[in-house]
Symmetry: C2
């Protein structure tokens, strides 16, 4: 039996990346095109078409199992993509149907990008050994996906996994979403950067300042991760504090859903084991007794490839 392959598309606000993926989770080829997100849905669709068509020329006559697309926004069961942030004029677009018209003989599946990354970790990454886990993406914002019995839990309308909007303080800071005290409002870019900027006033020796060339408006959680890797003390403190808060939300979800494993992806998770340790310690100290001894918080393994791999995983 020949190894099966599939096309995986990682649709982002800046770039469309398409890969040819083996059933073992190897990216055999990949390309990258600008999304042209400011030009609206037809232009974006054109870029997806270009990227997929180009990738298809690299499959050497082998038969692809189909095309999977990971997209920002809420994706319903019919592959309709709703309100992806940072793509202009995109309210509701029946992406699966439109792509089916272009690639008539291919099987098409569309999934939310965080869910796709969760699927990737489940099939090919840190989640391979676990039937059930909570996947968290911690970058500019905080998103996630839930794997139950080795399948993505999408929820009744495809919106599940929004752990970033678990409130960890009902009286806490306002979040963009309208709620108060969402964990994203503590550890997402805006708040974490602001808190770090304040602390930097009394810690002018921090490497963080070098990384942003002294321009605090450029401060992103990613730079904290980078500075922490260079053993910057302030960056480590900030990330331990943030990880501890993330653990509060993860513990709540684990208690409600009876889960024991969380896999952390996104730029910040790459800062180092100390962040994962901080999250795990926080979760362990907060979950119900029967869960405590089995708690595992692990780093995602697939990094930037998770989008393409998870998308391909939809049809493999």
């Amino acid at each position: 039996m020949k190894p099966r392959i599939a096309i995986g598309v990682d649709l982002g606000a800046t770039t469309v990346k398409t890969g040819v993926v083996s059933s073992a989770g190897k990216i055999l080829y990949q390309n990258k095109f600008p999304t042209n997100a400011q030009s609206g849905p037809p232009a974006v669709l054109k870029q997806i078409e270009t990227s997929v068509s180009e990738a298809l020329t690299h499959i050497d006559g082998k038969k692809a199992a189909g095309i999977g697309i990971g997209s920002p926004g809420v994706v319903d069961d019919d592959g309709v993509v709703k309100s992806p942030p940072n793509i202009a004029h995109w309210d509701e677009v029946p992406l699966a149907r439109q792509l089916q018209k272009i690639f008539r003989r291919m099987r098409i599946r569309v999934e939310n990008d965080a869910n796709a990354a969760a699927i990737a970790e489940s099939r090919f990454g840190a989640g391979k050994k676990f039937d059930n886990f909570l996947f968290v993406i911690w970058g500019t914002g905080v998103g996630g996906g839930i794997i139950l019995n080795n399948r993505i839990y999408r929820g009744p309308s495809g919106g599940a996994g929004e752990i970033g909007h678990c409130s960890i303080d009902y009286n806490g800071p306002e979040c963009n979403c309208g709620n108060r005290g969402c964990v994203e409002a503590y550890i997402g870019q805006r708040y974490l950067s602001r808190r770090t900027a304040e602390k930097l006033k009394s810690r002018p020796d921090s490497k963080i300042l070098e990384l942003v060339n002294g321009d605090l408006s450029k401060l992103e959680p990613m730079y904290l991760a980078e500075a922490a890797q260079k053993r910057d003390q302030l960056a480590r403190e900030m990330l331990v504090e943030a990880g501890t808060l993330l653990g509060v939300a993860i513990a709540a979800v684990m208690n409600v859903m009876d889960l024991r494993v969380s896999i952390i992806g996104g730029g910040v998770s790459a800062a180092g084991g100390f962040v994962l340790d901080a999250i795990e310690q926080s979760v362990k100290s907060r979950v119900l007794k029967p869960l405590q001894s089995d708690i595992r918080v692990l780093q995602a393994q697939l990094g930037n490839d998770a989008g393409i791999l998870g998308a391909a995983g939809l049809v493999l």
Copy 2:
């Protein structure tokens, strides 16, 4: 075709109640025996046997679909009941297997009591119209069950639904479970009674004092509900505040699991529509935009019958 019937057992710390239930969710007959919880598992098992055997004499030769049992504690897939609070010497008991030995020809199913009540509301009560909802029991503590696609979501080890231990303030009061700021630590008996007792000092005209005969140590959320029904202002204020806090935890679960409906049972929920309104308003103000317009918070319909009905529902 004859209407099917089943035996439903509601195992509580004080009483064992067994009912003969029709497939339409009608309790055709029920009895009640003391649990003898202080005497340990064999004595409790004996009481279940007595109660079920007695109920079986009332089924008039009709064939029962089986025996369902709703039990406190975590119940695993094999019907092993772990650490039910308030039953002495009960660590892990294979309740399903032991009952099978006694009632050899009957189908036996055991489920956690909050899950059984959620199943009852789904099959016969306020949840009939909804495929997916979060069921909350608000009484002495705060528990719950999650219905997905008209089935109970048990989680990998049967422990799902513990919404009472969602932290709504990571820095909040300590909960019995070891976590901080659990919603149960705000609206469960201990904390809510303490807060009410404090307020009563400056509100000596409240009907709550009458209900507990001036003995504040007797204060339970149930009395708040009763006083509120008698239009006591302080009781209403306390319950609105508590309902608003419960809404914070419900909103977090809805965001993560993509749910829109919550059904509230337990003694406190009977206080009146104003409590449900307070919960609903809180949830609506906090969930993500795509969920907002569909949010429904409803009162459970089955009251004390939910235990028997849900247990019977396990085998109907």
